[in-house]
């Protein structure tokens, strides 16, 4: 069950439309390391978690990612909402515009629509937590690259906030992984999936 709070987690107020920036930033909505994939990754993984505290980490971070997705979508919306048709053509936005007008649709920066292959749910606490730590780092790298590519302070401020959240989530997933490893059966030398059996039949 979820409830909606009618506010952004961190304010987004972009005064100047910029279709080029929008095409870059939209990748954090529908791209391989975007917030949609992050949220679906964590919320899908919860059911196979053998430990309640780790299911809690996945629930709470997965929920925060939905709020990040909303921030990214708000940025794309504000960057595209007042564009003229001349600006759309001049700023290389015609290829997106022809299919979606200025609606917000989940694509990567190069235009590939969102794919479920962007995230994994492997049913193994050790595997999934490694996936999640890597995912947070990949999202952080993407935000680093966005910071290199745009210079409008209205864009940079919320992007820096989102980048910092990746680092906090990486830390929490690292702690969750340490907890999971501490719970392994003493004969589970190779860290086989403890959610399925204690030590791979050994």
């Amino acid at each position: 069950m979820w409830s909606y709070e009618k506010r952004l987690q961190y304010p987004v107020r972009i005064k100047n439309p910029d279709a080029r920036a929008a095409k870059i930033i939209i990748t954090q909505f529908g791209g391989p390391d975007g917030e949609l994939a992050a949220s679906m990754r964590y919320l899908s993984q919860r059911y196979a978690m053998p430990y309640r505290n780790i299911a809690g980490v996945l629930t709470d971070i997965g929920t925060e990612e939905l709020a990040h997705m909303e921030m990214v979508c708000a940025m794309v919306h504000q960057l595209t909402r007042d564009l003229t048709i001349e600006q759309i053509k001049a700023q290389g936005f015609a290829d997106y515009f022809v299919d979606h007008t200025v609606g917000v649709y989940p694509v990567a920066a190069a235009g590939t629509p969102f794919r479920a292959e962007y995230f994994q749910s492997k049913g193994d606490v050790i595997t999934d937590l490694h996936e999640n730590m890597a995912a947070e780092q990949k999202a952080r790298t993407t935000y680093d690259n966005i910071i290199r590519l745009v210079d409008d302070p209205d864009i940079l401020e919320p992007i820096r906030f989102l980048r910092e959240r990746e680092i906090v989530h990486y830390q929490r997933f690292g702690e969750a992984l340490r907890y999971a490893q501490d719970q392994l059966h003493s004969r589970n030398f190779y860290a086989c999936n403890p959610g399925f059996d204690d030590c791979c039949g050994n």
């Binding site: 009618k6 952004l8 505290n53 809690g56 980490v57 925060e64 969750a176």
Partner: protein, 85 residues
Amino acid sequence: MLNNGKCEALQAVNEAAFVLQELVLYLDTHPRCTAGLSRYQQAKEAYHQAVEAYVMQYGPLMFDQVQADGCWQWVETPWPWEMED
């Protein structure tokens, strides 16, 4: 239209909610931390106070905070991506 009072009240909600969010994630992996638990109690209270102050003046943040007297305020106040507040 930028309304300074509304902006400040919303900023207070955002800040209090952020502290609470951080404590929730921290407590998920440190569930027995007594210092964390007592900071959670304080943060929860601060968040509720900030929400109440905002909602009284500027309208609902959640659908159970609508004052249902005359109009359905939930769809009268701006959505957060509109830059209207």
